[in-house]
Symmetry: C2
Subunit: 135 residues, 2 copies
Amino acid sequence: AQMSLEQGYEARREFDARYRLLLRTVHDPIAFVSVGDGRVRDINEPAAALLGTTREDLVGSSFFQEFRDRRGEEFIEGLVNAAISENAAGLEVQTRRSRSRVTVTPHIFRAAGERVLICRLSGDDGTSVKYDGLS
Amino acid sequence: AQMSLEQGYEARREFDARYRLLLRTVHDPIAFVSVGDGRVRDINEPAAALLGTTREDLVGSSFFQEFRDRRGEEFIEGLVNAAISENAAGLEVQTRRSRSRVTVTPHIFRAAGERVLICRLSGDDGTSVKYDGLS
């Protein structure tokens, strides 16, 4: 499908705006992680809070380092396997900074030639519920 | 900022994919509504379930019709005012189909020359919590 430069630019801006507002609006803790290098591509405040730090601290850093007893490639491989398996139960992990038990539920997609994991985090202590109550 | 046709197309596809996966992944009930015509531009399954119907039923339809005792322009105007006010508490409404009490918390943004409301819905009966428990 062909589109003019201007149309493409406008469309990109629209999805960019929708994407950013959506990520900022939702209370579900969400992280986007590159399969290639295991780094956090984007993350929202609820996810950063659950991990015990800030967005700024996490964007560009290695995702596996946020969890106890996890190795880089193994961890990402585990997330990819969970994402492509039929009965995706999610991975139970413990956060390094806040020592909370968290379930990471991943989905995988391809964007601009790169495989990206979108991970929904949820705390066993009902963290997303607590966060929801604040609004 | 200039970009080549191909770069623009790739970038659009990437944000498109991120946006769609994000909307499908989150458990927060979310609806995108055009300020201009009051119609639902996009909505996810949790929001459709809260309103007592399906995504397919809602995309392209008038948002205000899903709520009791609401008029089109007034309702959208109320959402816009709530979005731009400092202490955005959200609008309390009752759904037409399921007769549930729901709070609509709107944010507003401009995309491709159009003003769009992103609305987070939450049920008084803890609907988002119940939904979260299903995963």
